[in-house]
Amino acid sequence: MTKEVRLVNKKGIRTDGRKPDELRPIKLEVGILSNADGSAYIEQGKNKILAAVYGPREVHPRHLALPDKALLRCRYHMAPFSVQERKSPAPSRREVELSKVIREALEPAIFLERFPRTSIDLFIEVLQADGGTRVAGITVASLALADAGLPMRDLVAACAAGKADGYIVLDLNDIEDKEGTADVPVAYMPSLNAVGLLQMDGQLTPEEFEQAFNLAIEGCKRIYELQKQALKAKYLAIKEAVEEAEEK
């Protein structure tokens, strides 16, 4: 925040042309890796993120197995070339923390108790980072879990809101994340009205926080619709493929 950067202009338009409450363009694809049990891909702004799920499968090492439910493990990881300055492939403290909070956001969505003594391993790979990778990572991971056929209480949609140049804005991009006043990432299950991830950094009055939080929830709801579309598109494609095959 050493240099003055103008994030929202006089007309209320952000650096990438969006209005304060507007999401970035989002592209979702489901089932794109052949080895994983479930997989999905998201582009949100310039974020490009892959998620893959293996499991339920045998736990290694075995002593980690839980008697009454599946062990959910999560690795959020950034490719060395995903950011401006090359990132060492070894996990950073930031990646360790995000792996934990992402796992805690997704865990309540899965019926883990149906798969005791197994592990469900979730891998999120950020191929390009553009602000908001943790929430985009949850959005895409949720689709990968669904693609793996895991029974879920709800899809988890995630989105950040925050404050930049005095405006409460939705879905912060890279520069808004770095130069803005505050960032509030949220993960939400709309049909359960339940928040699984909530973090904040920056400075907000309680009133501003409430505004930003409500806007983030609104963003989650919009993303939730996109998630459902993406799953439908995948299953329509499968259905068509099966029908075509049957016709032959």
Binding site: R93, V96, E97, V184, D201, P206, N214
Partner: protein, 266 residues
Amino acid sequence: MTSSTISRIRQSQIAQLITSGKRLDGRGLMDYRPIQIETGIIEKAEGSARVRLGKTEVMVGIKIEIGEPFSDRPDEGVLTTNAEFVPLASPEFEAGPPGEDSVELARVVDRGIRESKAIDLEKLCIIPGKKVFIVFIDIYVLNHDGNLIDASALAALAALTNTKIFKYEVKDGEVEIKSGFEKLPLVNFPVAVTLADIGGRLVVDPWLDEEEVMNARLTISFDKDGKICAMQKGGSGTLSPQQIIEAVKIAKEKSEELRRLVVKEG
């Protein structure tokens, strides 16, 4: 911390009591455990404090060294926060590199200090782009009985209020240490308040047994002006939006109580 070290019976006892507004250790839902703060106990450190929060005990030591600034912040000192779960503090802690819980603890405490701009980092610049002060905040958990975040944030703040920096002179691009000390330029006083959802009700300052029962926790850090500077939801459960808004209100009030324990003109 995932292993249930307390019995199922005790767990349901804790939860049931809370739904009727009581806690197993006799506290009210909105009461902190007794807090004891000592500062300046490690003479070799530039700053230090020990906080006892019930049976939870955390020590923070501050060391100041001269090093290089980050290339994108050439005229600012560097803040680095580390937490060690030393194995004498709990049967669950193991020696070795920091696990995800201690990384999270360090990063949440760090975020409160950093985002509230508690330390005036520009005043810690010695020679722009070359030499700055590095402030090491080392959180040392000595006995773990729950709510490490609040205890650590409080100990860190107490240690920072107590931190001195050696005087120096720059001669021909070299730093010369002089005798005497100055106070660390501490300009804000962030305090963390953690609430847990147990059986649908919020309580502040969960102790270890409550942490094993809780659904989720939410930590909210407030700065001296009543602004939120950091938040962190933890635990494998969820919170409702209503609970979150309520938690903010409770935490604001509690943060002022806590801050008064460390800073006189809070």
